[in-house]
Amino acid sequence: MSDDKTTIKHFCHKPGQLVTLDPAKFLPLPPPFDKPELEPKMKPLSDEGRKKYECDLDSIITVKFPRPETEEEKRELVEKFLSGLKKLFEKENNWTFLQPLFLTMEFCAKCQTCSDACPVYNESGKVDIYRPTYRSDILRRLYKTYVKKGGKFFAKISGDNIEATWTMVARLMELSYRCTICRRCAQTCPIGADNGLVTRELRKIFSQEMGINLDPLHKKGSVVQLAVGSSTGMNPAAYLDNIEFLEEEVEERTDMKFKWPMDKAGAEILLIHNAGEFLAWPENPEAFAIIFEAAGIDYTLSSELVGYDSVNYGVWYDDVQFAKVALKHAEAAKKLGVKKIVLAECGHAHKALTVIADRVLAGEYNIPRESSMTLLREIVMSGRLKLDASRNDDITTTMHDPCNMVRLMGIVQPQRDVLKAVSNNFREMTPHGVYNYCCGGGSGFAITQDANFPDWRQNVSGRAKMRQILNVFQDIIGPEHKKYVCAPCSNCKGALRDMFASYGLFEKCNVLYGGLVELVVNAMTEIDKPFIEWEWH
């Protein structure tokens, strides 16, 4: 598409679909997906969907916002948006992120260094609206025009003015869901501006002021979690049933019979899983239970509302929902009187509760939180488990770095030390560690399955990760070699699951994804049968 059709003026005023994606322009993938016809297809949006929902950005839908029918409705929506915009720059309403937002608004030098770092922008073949600064530029103009004193006058002189129209607001609403908030862009910015932050702040205007957000994050996400106990919809009774079932399954798989500690007051550790694991990847919490039991760790699980589901989707769209969930996590720990909370394999839960909630939890709610990666390293290095790495010798492994845990928290080495202790055939992707690429499912994308959005995720936001995986295994890409992408994060696993399925990666190349603890248990000599069931995926 030509750039001159996606200027900010077009964005604000041009009716109809602004951008048509052209898969032929997406960056090519390595073999065996080096022919475009082997890639998953991008399904067009149905005529009905197009008519019903706002989709004039790129014809991809996440928000599913019904088109307003009258001019009056549109005007009201724009006014609401502008009222949210103003609140974003108020100390009381946005003390949580005012300073970093202000810095990004004021000091970006428009050097475009960040563009090269963005997987979404580059993999899409440089679709201009996906450029990291595109949405920031719009927000900056809105800030200069509608928030700053004398804005309309000065912005006009400098050329930074913008007119808030419903066309613009509706497109911006969708555009705020075309960024994974991986913050690779921010890492390369010489000024320290942060376009990932801008994405989240935009989502906050829509959610906190206008009540517009993604159903999987809000209505079926944090709201269900706070009301029922888990965003999966699993209430405490169903959760306890589930645990009983998993205890039996562990016995079947390993001949180890033991009760999982539940609501044990005074335990040293409260272990919290992403509850999605119990349903989608039960082998992961099972492996944790096996390791902790074998290592004699004094821990407990909780059956308290929210205390058994570490997810906190607010971290992607809403500060208030974020704070509500974080407080519930802390409350569960406080009730049990544990010394610390340990987060199992979930990246965003790590960052949400350990880092971001660090400035929400005060006094008795400020219970120390730590990563399971460090605890696992301690367990593995202490020799408390009998491990034989050669039991994993038929598998070549690589490590996917979840952005939230790695680039945004600095937990890089412990998971590698553990993996190297149980895998003799480990290789690193390029780039890795804090310079990794997102799985494509960041910022809530992994759980967003509406309309044609999964096609976009598979083809665009996950593409850089797909390339990395194909490249790291390129010399053994044939199905005769077993390959394992170790992703210690439920969200990343969800994204990889869908991406692998859409490309047929397991069938064509024998690449499996999974967590870290499964590989550890697979290497435990006291368990006879292999723990990783390769054919079941």
Binding site: D3, T7, K80, G84, K91, E92, N93, W95, T96, F97, L98, Q99, P100, F102, L103, T104, E106, F107, C108, A109, K110, C111, Q112, T113, D116, T133, D137, S158, G159, A186, T188, P190, I191, G192, D194, L197, Q208, E209, G211, L226, D319, A323, L327, I356, D358, R359, V360, L361, A362, G363, N366, E370, T374, E378, V406, R407, L408, M409, G410, V434
Partner: protein, 311 residues
Amino acid sequence: MGGFTVLQLLFYLSLLVFVIAMIMKALKISNMPLHLRWDLYPIPHEKGKAKYGGSYFEETDWWIKPKEISIANEIKEMGKEIIFVHSLMQNNRPLWVFSFPFHFGMYLLIGFVVMLALGAILEISGTTVSAASASGLVVIVHYLTVVLGIAGWILASFGALGLLLSRMFNGDLRKVSVRADYFNLVLLLAIFAIGLVSCFAFDTPNADLRGFVGSLISFEPAGVLPIATAIQLWLMAILLVYLPFTHMAHFLGKYFTYHKVRWEDAANLRGNKIEAAVKEGLDYQINWSASHIKSGGTWAEAATEESSKDE
């Protein structure tokens, strides 16, 4: 007072505006409430871990272990960034080719102004600054002024011209640029280019500028200046007034983006300053309008509201 030139008065005024506006901006930013953590790794003060981007979260029981901080490494990273614009060198070499001389040239020019001021003070006290002076110190001031001036004008002019041309002819930059972006670079280029040309066109370019600086220091009327130098000084006065209100003040902004956001990893421990700031934040009134937010009360109340009736 009656003998002051308009330019002199303007310069006093613009210097005043510059200083006050920069101080106010710095105060505005630093008085903003403590934000939620938004770290970005690598963080250079993480001793032994910075080279691969690790943090204290890699330790079990990190909150009771002494935090291992390397100030030296942080200073080294800052030095690389300030002197060499290192992140641009790593991530955007085509622009760095101009940005580095542009910034480095300006550092040299700051040194040049310091030398002019030093020379002016010497002259006010009766010592003529020239290569022929009997005092070694005066000779050093003379030559440093000459060298810093010429090198500074050359590098800064080259950089500003390169940045301006990049913005005009590089499609990626052109499409994000507005009038003000071109104006900033044209203004800077004009100031630098006049300085550069003056070095070769005038007999005593530095003496003229030194005389003007001296008049500002001594509150004495300035002498007559060559027209080009007068224009240059007018433009500088405009720049001083204008700069604090633009992204060109990023030399200030960068302190905050790096030290108060990216590298800000101080933990909230019971009873420390952060905990007090968090409590203050939770006490702010919240006024968002979405129905899932209990507005009108404090953040603490909104965050602890029973949630079953949420939409």
